[in-house]
Amino acid sequence: MPALISQIESILFVASKPLSIKKIAKVLAIDEDAVEKELKVLQGKYDTNSSGVVLFQTNSEFQLVAHPENRTVAEHFIKTEISGELTRPQLETLTVISYCGPLTKPEIEQIRGVNCSLILRNLLIRGLIKEAGTENNLLPAYEVTMEYLQHLGVSNLAELPEYETLHNHEFINNTLNQIVVGSEKE
């Protein structure tokens, strides 16, 4: 079993939000005093000039955040993530959703042949795609947003170049049909 301080640090790290001593104590099923003691030690650990992560305290809540002085670089990073050029895999994913959406994550992954979790998250944050309103399915399906359509300068997807041919292409359909077969084989 790892040290208590290590567990508290892990919790603060994954939570990505302010946590009360009470909450931490409850998760670990220990005394609040013990948590408070360890948090003091953690504060000391993060309280150095060179640390890029700091432990913030507001009233009785604690949160790990990026060092405030690095806000500019951190924001610059986020900004390039959400407004810079799309990478080739991102562009391809957006293409598949544009021409063949709405599609679920497993369908998109079947077509592209690679895991798309991070890419879908990025496209969602950028506001290029959104979850389609599908009531029947358990899995969310993705489609492009109205804003992106406007950016493309088309009023509906059917106006995309060669939509008729590409929208219902047999290679795509064949690949999608292999989902069941493929998962049985491995």
Binding site: I82, S83, Y99, I111, Y148, E162, H169, F171, T175
Partner: protein
């Protein structure tokens, strides 16, 4: 006759070879490979129909086994130095990683997990269009994707042949020779119904030659070879 073998499910030709050799408690050498060649062919002929995808891989190894075996039997026919990695070296190499996969299996099964954090998504002030991703770029990207998805022409179908063992073949050739004293090389292969049987017949001849039970003569290049009982 080789003993009845019970093997764990084998994954590929190298896995099968490794299991055969380990089953006989042999070290990985050319000699031991040569010893399990018969068994390898037996498994090849008994292989599940729905594994036809892997057949080519098994045949590649099968031909290398035949090569090793014939070299063992008739070393003077082969140049001493050889190019590339020998099958036994390749098998040893494979074994290192097959063994190491147990480390990975153990770690995977321990149920540890190092979670990353999820930074709360930034609240966007309006939609920021990417600098690329125009309609034309989408189309080009789709065309590239279709190129990748285009099915490759399926390989011609291959059937796994039923094979007799080298031992059986040696016996049958020797029996025929006892009756007829002489056989032609062509005679021997005429009765073979498929390619694996031809390979087996050839191995049987080599073995008989090595045991000095037969002699082979050929008058001119490309003439039929005559096989005599010694």
């Amino acid at each position: 006759m080789p003993k009845e073998l019970k093997l764990e499910k084998f994954e590929g030709p190298l896995d099968l070879l490794l299991q055969l050799i380990e089953n006989e408690k042999l070290a990985i050498t050319d000699v031991s490979l040569s010893d399990v060649t018969d068994q390898f062919f037996q498994f090849l002929s008994g292989m599940d129909e729905n594994r036809s995808d892997e057949l080519a891989d098994f045949l590649v190894i099968a031909t290398r086994l035949v090569y090793i075996k014939s070299r063992q039997l008739l070393p003077y026919l082969y140049p001493p130095e050889e190019e590339g990695l020998s099958l036994s070296e390749q098998l040893k190499f494979y074994k290192r990683y097959a063994d190491a996969s147990k480390f990975v299996e153990k770690l995977w099964g321990e149920g540890k997990m190092a979670y990353g954090r999820v930074e709360p998504a930034p609240v966007l002030t309006g939609f920021t269009a990417p600098q690329n991703a125009t309609a034309v770029e989408l189309k080009n990207s789709f065309v590239l994707l279709l190129k990748r998805l285009k099915p490759i022409n399926p390989l011609p179908e291959v059937r796994i042949d039923h094979t007799v063992s080298v031992q059986q073949k040696i016996k049958s050739i020797y029996e025929s020779l006892k009756k007829l004293n002489q056989l032609s090389f062509k005679d021997i292969f005429n009765s073979d119904s498929n390619r694996s049987e031809v390979i087996v017949s050839f191995l049987a001849l080599l073995e008989l030659l090595k045991q000095e039970k037969i002699s082979v003569n050929q008058k001119n290049s490309f003439n039929d070879m005559m096989i005599n009982k010694v």
